[in-house]
């Protein structure tokens, strides 16, 4: 475990210890109507912060809480109010009319007193539900129910998600391991109150799941249903790493096929059996055991009739699973009196995009030693973000600064369930173990798709998601995924296939073959723009704009960074290199123009949706290009709740003195002038440790973002999923 990151993330995820000294009351949450929140127990004239989140768990830890954290996540400040002389604070706000029903929302209030802050309990409400008792106290999936002719009431559809985090921190996925933090989709069957008079003697529940990727937990963990022949916890899909190229898909399949146990595979063959059950090791090496249900699971269970509700939980091992639970009423002879079917659906994995709130930013920190010191890069980020930033100790991770490339953050959520997720690239350079060491754990899942030789296209600066778009009438409420390729090579096919199977972000590719690194983040990005009808703008590296600025500068202007770094010591030398100009024109005409056309087509954009910023390229190796002027499109948007939106990007250093203000730099001012006013632009000196090594700010950072909207309550999302 790496100390610095472990500490920082530990702070992020640790449950805060605090006294529940505030009493919070929350009215029903009904679309278009007034929501009233009231706190008592505060000090007179004290400011009370009312927050909300979509799940209960450690949330934001702003400095004003003196190290404590909120217990709703993602934490969003709703409103503040000042307590009256009786210590009561009340606030009202209108629930947006677009808020769908069935969304579980968690509320918490806090009086910020530093380390002595006073918190309320977390209150939960389900949008659209009218409560008579102050709100439900258990998590449900919400959604419509059906009542059969018998009076038996079941939900039509239950939405859950792949249980791929590690709530018990045992280093293995939770699927069939532990039930914690609502990782199973809870739902209820309400028996017919008159069932006994109709001769109902039993309820029979039968899981219909050809994929073997669904488990049903009955009345807690007392009974568990699995389809016979399914994994029962030994699925290869649980293993983090795919070793197909080395003879078997995983450690578990290697045991089945060759009788080689995990211990041998790890010690002799250097395989990593993380997440595997390891049946050949007596279940002691990597595995999750077989759940806590006791007896071997069956696909069906028969329960004596009772009018008490039957509490169930649906758990999935994978995304995009569709299965069913058949609920029958039986008479004393076992004959079926009625039958209803509940659809069981697991969530898609959704990649984050730049319009989602940020919750935590990471970067590799080099602090002396052979790899030098990159504090000029990390310090401005750390200073701006405070406790929402964490440094990864480079000395422990091979001084690998390209943290954007090793990991892609995503979310995997369902009603009442929220998991962050980290996709670990098969790139497998120095940072590779960081996901397991510092991230994989409670409410944070992890997965790897593909194996074997990795090209630069497998890095995740080459895997991005656009903001929500509408294309030819089709809404993509979670944006669209895109990656770069060269016609014959791209990200590993296993990952492409998986992302395509999610459907909700409909991936497409663009040609990045002309770049030495070959990543989509080298020339295009997206930023929020509140003034735009679409809510965002596409930021585009514009070569003509760069030359226009250069042509308007005094040729004698010295540009010392470019002198030592690129061989151009003055503006005149840079703009006067006719071959360089021709090279950039080629890139503009032959590559960037068609790429922009593809982005316009696939994202439904026009030039009005574009913010041009100056960008220039040079040959880095062979005919392949890299940013000559530090790539400012290679930016990162950090929109922390309750804080100004920040854009971190590379200082272009197109000025005589590196220490002079960026306000004197025409490239920097062009960037600032082009940005929507809502953003604070922070230029970062990435020159030596990133730019000269063919990367910029986005490449050197990564961002955990807050949960996007509820896909299960979004008609457009459900349509994309075929629901």
């Amino acid at each position: 475990m790496q100390k610095l990151v472990a500490t920082t993330l530990g702070l992020l995820f640790a449950h805060s210890a605090f006294a529940d000294d505030l009493s919070l009351d929350v009215s029903d949450v009904l679309a278009g109507e007034t929501l009233t929140v009231t706190v008592s127990g505060a000090a007179a004239s004290e400011t009370i912060y009312f927050t909300r989140g979509f799940t209960a768990g450690t949330g934001a830890c702003p400095d004003i809480l003196g190290g404590d954290c909120m217990s709703v996540t993602p934490t969003r400040l709703l409103v503040t109010s000042t307590a009256d002389s009786d210590g009561v604070a009340t606030a009202s706000l209108t629930v947006p009319s677009a808020v769908p029903d069935g969304v579980t929302v968690y509320f918490q209030a806090v009086a910020a007193r530093g380390a002595d802050s006073a918190f309320s309990d977390v209150e939960m409400r389900v949008t659209g539900e009218v409560s008579t008792t102050g709100g439900p106290t258990t998590t449900t999936t919400g959604g419509p129910t059906t009542t059969g002719p018998s009076g038996l009431v079941v939900p039509e559809t239950v939405y859950g998600t792949a249980n791929r985090d590690d709530d018990d921190s045992d280093g293995t996925f939770d699927w069939l391991d532990v039930i914690a933090d609502n990782d199973q989709a809870a739902f209820t069957i309400n028996p017919d109150a008159a069932g006994a008079t109709r001769g109902v003697a039993y309820h029979r529940l039968t899981l219909d799941d050809a994929s073997g990727k669904t488990a049903i937990w009955v009345n807690g963990a007392s009974e568990r249903l699995l389809t016979p022949g399914s994994s029962g916890g030994s699925s290869a899909s649980e293993c983090v790493y795919d070793f197909s190229d080395y003879g078997s898909e995983s450690c578990d399949t290697a045991w089945d096929e060759f009788g080689i146990d995990c211990a041998t595979l790890e010690s002799t063959y250097s395989w990593d059996c993380t997440g595997c059950v390891c049946p050949g090791d007596g279940g002691s090496s990597g595995g999750s055991g077989g759940g806590s249900g006791g007896a071997e699971p069956a696909s069906s269970v028969t329960l004596p009739f009772s009018t008490d509700a039957i509490d169930l939980g649906a758990e999935f091992s994978d995304w995009r699973v569709t299965s069913a639970l058949i609920v029958e009423e039986l008479d004393a002879s076992g004959a079926t009196l009625s039958e209803q079917t509940i659809r069981l659906v697991s969530a898609p994995l959704i990649l984050n995009h730049h319009l989602q709130e940020a919750s935590f930013v990471v970067a590799t920190e080099l602090s002396g030693g052979w790899a030098g010191d990159n504090s000029e890069f990390t310090t401005p980020i750390a200073d701006a973000l405070g406790s929402s930033y964490g440094g990864v100790p480079g000395a422990s991770y091979g001084s690998d600064v390209w943290i954007q490339d090793e990991f892609e953050f995503a979310t995997s959520n369902a009603p009442g369930i929220y998991q962050d997720f980290i996709i670990d690239s098969i790139r497998d350079r120095g940072l590779d173990p960081w996901a397991e060491n510092a991230v994989f754990g409670p409410d944070f899942g992890m997965g790897v798709w593909g194996s074997g030789w990795a090209s630069s296209f497998d890095s995740f600066g080459n895997l991005e998601a656009s903001p929500p778009v509408t294309v030819d009438g089709v809404e993509y409420p979670f944006g669209r995924v895109y990656w770069g390729e060269n016609g014959s090579d791209g990200p590993t096919v296993a990952l492409q296939s998986f992302l395509e199977a999610q459907e909700i972000q409909a991936p497409f590719n663009i040609n990045t073959s002309w770049l030495a690194v070959g990543h989509v983040d080298e020339f295009v990005s997206f930023i929020p723009d509140a003034s735009s009808a679409k809510g965002f703008k596409m930021v585009w590296s514009d070569i003509d704009m760069a030359y226009e600025i250069l042509d308007g500068m005094s040729g004698s202007t010295s540009i010392p960074r470019y002198g030592s770094g690129h061989g151009y010591s003055t503006v005149a030398a840079l703009r006067g290199d006719s071959a360089l100009r021709s090279y950039n024109e080629d890139i503009r005409d032959v590559y960037l123009a068609p790429i922009k056309a593809v982005l316009f087509e696939k994202l439904g954009l026009t030039e009005a949706d574009v913010i041009n910023i100056p960008g220039m390229f040079e040959e880095a190796y062979g005919p392949y290009g890299a940013a000559l002027v530090p790539g400012m499109a290679n930016l990162v948007v950090v929109d922390l709740p309750g804080e100004p939106s920040r854009i971190f990007t590379a200082d272009p250093f197109m000025r005589s003195s590196a220490s002079a203000s960026t306000a004197t730099d025409p490239f920097a001012t062009a960037f600032v002038d082009a940005m929507p006013a809502e953003h604070e632009v922070i230029f970062v000196d990435d020159w030596n440790d990133y730019h000269l090594l063919l990367g910029e700010v986005h490449c050197g950072t990564n961002v955990i973002r807050n949960q996007p909207n509820a896909w299960w309550a979004d008609e457009a999302a459900l349509s994309l999923l075929g629901e």
């Binding site: 990543h519 030592s564 006719s578 021709s582 032959v590 880095a620």
Partner: protein, 255 residues
């Protein structure tokens, strides 16, 4: 045998280079020991593309070029580190040209066995200021390794005096290797060689799409008015997006 001929050719065309590496080796003892000590402790960093690079500014010190040349002679340096050394050498001499070391640089190209290292050294010749760079590049257009020929074809186009080798580049348009044809076409466009028009036009039927696209861009550069008279209907429906895009660019810039 062919390699030997190339080497000999280089040596013959550059009498300065003949003993240049020996001269460098003789300078080893006079190197600044403090600088050498610093350089020896610096480890190359991994670029985002995966290859190594010395990004430490110490490698831009004048004395560092001699040290990197000496390091390139050692047998126990890993290939990826030799590549980084070659890159560091090129960037050092780009920033502070040293004619005597340029001669050694070219001799290193001639004797270099690793094609990747050789490519880096050849591409660096765009910055060489000495009198033998052009003749070396001309010779390298005949190198048996296609990557080296392509690097030479590309590098000539980046040099302000590259037009002196237009005839050799025109010959390279008929190279059997597509990357050589592609980069020779590109360079002729960069250099504005009007005499290459017919040869470039002939490349519009080339089997390699990159070459077709480069030929279109070059035609536009060498004679836009004449290029506008060409029948490009096939190019507008070319199967390759890059060729179609280059055709659009030519259409948009036609008088």
């Amino acid at each position: 045998m062919t390699n030997l001929l190339i080497t000999l050719s280089l040596v013959v065309t550059s009498s300065l280079a003949a003993d240049a590496l020996s001269d460098v080796k003789n300078q080893a003892a006079s190197l600044d020991t403090a600088l050498v000590s610093q350089l020896e402790q610096i480890t190359p960093r991994t670029t985002r593309a995966g290859w190594l690079r010395y990004n430490d500014p110490t490698f831009l010190e004048p004395g560092a070029a001699t040290w990197t040349l000496l390091e390139l002679q050692l047998d126990d340096v890993a290939p990826e580190q030799r590549r980084a050394l070659a890159d560091a050498l090129v960037r050092n001499l780009r920033n502070a040209p040293q004619i005597d070391l340029e001669a050694a640089w070219m001799q290193q190209i001639a004797q270099e066995a690793d094609p990747v290292v050789r490519q880096v050294l050849i591409e660096g010749l765009r910055h060489a200021t000495g009198p033998n760079a052009l003749s070396a590049l001309k010779t390298l257009l005949q190198h048996p390794d296609a990557t080296s020929r392509a690097a030479a074809a590309s590098t000539i186009g980046w040099r302000s005096d590259g037009a002196a080798l237009n005839a050799s580049l025109r010959t390279a348009l008929g190279d059997q290797d597509a990357s050589v044809r592609h980069l020779a076409a590109r360079s002729l466009g960069y250099l504005g060689d009007v005499h290459a028009f017919e040869a470039l036009e002939a490349l519009l039927d080339d089997s390699d799409p990159m070459t077709r696209a480069a030929a279109l861009q070059a035609l536009r550069r060498v004679d836009a008015a004449r290029a506008a008279t060409l029948d490009l209907s096939d190019m507008r429906s070319d199967t390759d997006a890059r060729v179609r895009a280059a055709t659009v660019a030519l259409d948009n810039t036609s008088p």
